[in-house]
Symmetry: C2
Subunit: 324 residues, 2 copies
Amino acid sequence: MKATARAHTNIALIKYWGKRDEELILPTNNSLSLTLDGFYTTTTVEFRNDLTNDIFYLDNQCISGIPYQRVTQFLDLIRQLAGKHIFAEVRSTNHVPTAAGFASSASGFAALAAAGSKAIGLSLNDKALSRLTRRGSGSACRSIYGGFAEWQKGEKKDGSDSFAVPIKPQDYWDIRVAAVVLHADEKKVSSRVGMKRTVDTSPFFKGWVDSIPQDLEQIKAGISERDFEKVGSVAEANCLKMHATTLGANPPFTYWYDTTFTVMQHVQKLRDKKIPAYFTIDAGPNVKVLYLPENEADIKRELESIPGVRDVILSKAGQGITYL
Amino acid sequence: MKATARAHTNIALIKYWGKRDEELILPTNNSLSLTLDGFYTTTTVEFRNDLTNDIFYLDNQCISGIPYQRVTQFLDLIRQLAGKHIFAEVRSTNHVPTAAGFASSASGFAALAAAGSKAIGLSLNDKALSRLTRRGSGSACRSIYGGFAEWQKGEKKDGSDSFAVPIKPQDYWDIRVAAVVLHADEKKVSSRVGMKRTVDTSPFFKGWVDSIPQDLEQIKAGISERDFEKVGSVAEANCLKMHATTLGANPPFTYWYDTTFTVMQHVQKLRDKKIPAYFTIDAGPNVKVLYLPENEADIKRELESIPGVRDVILSKAGQGITYL
């Protein structure tokens, strides 16, 4: 009753922004992501009869408190699915540099779901695994797949039709992402709180949700045509819309710093110099820049030259769950 | 047939953003402004039988091209109202430092409307003068009045009910404004073009318009109660909403520079230090900061210390049209 799985984090190109059910983690819009090779979590789960409670090690540290509770509550879902009431030892290693500004929750819960469900003897297909993963962290449900994945929001109240699917064609397209690291400050407004305040108070939330189907249609056409400019420009516009909704919230807030804005301007200047590059930003100040392999040297040099940039970490597109 | 009038510029606290009629300059939402003492235009209009066309001097320079056309087309409206077909010599002096980032069109058209209508022998009341002024430049219609003024968008197709009215009480409240000057670059997207692109393509435009009545109600309560925090926070939130709509346009755009963002952050830091200050930003990169007289020294020092700030120009609240 032991299994090990690796999952990579993903970067949303069409953002997940707004929940219709906080408990079941059901979104108000479909989202679409690219899984990244450079950032991943490896997790081993062993269900053992001799344990009287779950144990969770992260990077060889024994964890308690809220992170422990999220893991043990997630294990409860796995136990429920399997109909087995047995505790587990979980050992996770994060290969997500904290400073990169990627949430490790996406790779973390995808790896936990995969290793945990296999260890307890469940045989989940990808959709079922994605649906389970969603309960740990919404955006994690997209990390089941390599390349591009779409989280279908679903319509049902119980969330049974809310899971991610891979975007065809699945043959490899070498799109790259530079994580531009600005600050390691604690977020002032968490993504959970910011999302909820936006849903509850922003006059722009309806416009955001209504605009998603067209963005998805265009970006999927771009992926299918291997049209980097189309994919990049839709992703950048979608990110700007997501962040615009927060400026309309009551009280208004933003995840951006002035240096975030500086990086955005530089990316637009790169395009003026005919170097295709597009930015996207999650619920935090750091910027991720999409680019093509042939421009890697130029992109890295330009981004590293920006005052206020602390680090630039490069990644290729990555693969889905692997069992080790 | 000669008259001279002075009009001051105004800063919108609830922004004019979106037209329902481009030709008649009819807005999609009510707006509210504070007239500023520091920035004004003085204009003399003389209708003369010996002229075979209009002549326009601005700051002692004879003007042709588009600025001339806007003036002569506006004089046509005055001639039409008066039923007199006679040309005029117009001499304007702008006391609006170009670098301050205030449009001189507001004070310019208000002074032209006042001097021109008086010179030709019309006796317009404030509402009629405001309605006429609107045809030259929308936001100019608020510069008829001192202190706070509200431009009522009106409902009629012919624009006859679209003009500004003063906000009572009209006794003086010493609110001040610091114009924080960043750049003198040409705007990439003009306010006219940006407004139209937003109306036509931004999924947030409806939310913007729908949110105005509540903003107006709150800011008018703040003015009536002399509650600076309420007035400032509503104005700041309204400005953020206006700029958020541009991020949703297709293609997206922004009037902000990174230094615009830096100034916004500093204003919020001033509040953390218990110095009440609120920003507002028009369709350009410069920031205007609302403050109270007792904080003037602190405000000026703090704003001048921000890297990238070129100048800080202070102004009190100003008066409406005066005839000289």
